[in-house]
């Protein structure tokens, strides 16, 4: 990944809440492939889209996005 990589937990949050990629895409008004590219870290969203994603999951934006990799579950 490039030095400008932005890590995210969209896939985790989506799985936790049982939301499909298409449902999330529809709620955000983006193409469902865009959600896939976001989850794979192959596209970094605009600030506006990042805030809308956080708003959709009702969490602060730093819960969804980070400049550093998120710790794995159980790694303390």
């Amino acid at each position: 990944m490039s030095s400008e990589a932005i890590y995210n937990r969209i896939a985790v949050l989506r799985a936790e809440r049982g939301i499909s990629r298409r449902d999330l895409a529809q709620a955000l008004g983006v193409h469902y492939q865009t959600v896939g590219y976001l989850e794979r870290g192959e596209y970094s969203p605009s600030l506006y889209l990042a805030l809308r994603i956080a708003d959709y999951f009702e969490v602060p934006v730093e819960v969804v996005f980070s400049l550093k990799p998120f710790p794995r579950l159980g790694s303390g």
Binding site: S20, V30, Y37, L49
Partner: protein
């Protein structure tokens, strides 16, 4: 201005929206996913599109030397029609493979698609510029060789060159977009 419901402007707007929805649906319907699902397949389609463009120009070029009204002319015209039809099919597959990235109006695309469309358009523009400049230099060189008497470029060659440039101009953004796009994420909601 006619803003009455059901008036000319309203009908035009509805027709435009209907057409936009049809195009959206067309590029998001997987008719032959095996042809464009992976990056390698999309690149093969992009290469085929370029090859067909060159083939079309070559047929036009050869047509110039065929005897008018002879069987060779009809065979070449049939070949040209075949090439153009194959080109239409390839271009349609490229559009579906890129989900209308370069063909749909801006308001139908999201921010990632718009960014990718801008990158593809910018690269295609640079390539087109080089090709156009090359054609310009070729024309100048032809005129210089002939002494500027206006017969340097045979009509068939000029038509083939214009066909090539027009096709490149039309298809290059889609070709570049198809070439650049990474493998699409697996559609976990698909029925298949």
């Amino acid at each position: 201005m006619n803003d009455r419901p059901g008036g000319g402007a309203g009908r035009g707007r509805r027709l435009s929206e209907w057409w936009r929805a049809q195009r959206m649906e067309a590029v998001n319907t997987d008719l032959a996913p095996g042809w464009y699902r992976t990056r390698a397949r999309r690149r093969a389609l992009a290469a085929a599109s370029v090859a067909l463009t060159l083939a079309g120009a070559a047929v036009i070029l050869v047509l110039e030397f065929a005897d008018a009204g002879g069987p060779a002319v009809w065979a070449l015209l049939a070949a040209l029609v075949t090439v153009v039809l194959l080109q239409c099919a390839t271009f349609s597959l490229l559009n579906i493979g890129t989900r209308g990235l370069t063909g749909l109006p801006e308001r139908s695309l999201d921010e990632r698609q718009l960014a990718e469309r801008n990158r593809a358009g910018s690269l295609a523009h640079r390539i087109s510029t080089v090709l156009l400049f090359g054609a310009f230099l070729g024309l100048c060189a032809g005129l210089a060789v002939s002494g500027g008497n206006g017969t340097a470029v045979p009509p068939g060659t000029a038509i083939a060159a214009m066909y090539l440039l027009a096709m490149v101009h039309m298809q290059l953004p889609a070709v570049v977009a198809a070439w650049r796009l990474p493998d699409a994420p697996v559609d976990e909601d698909a029925d298949d």
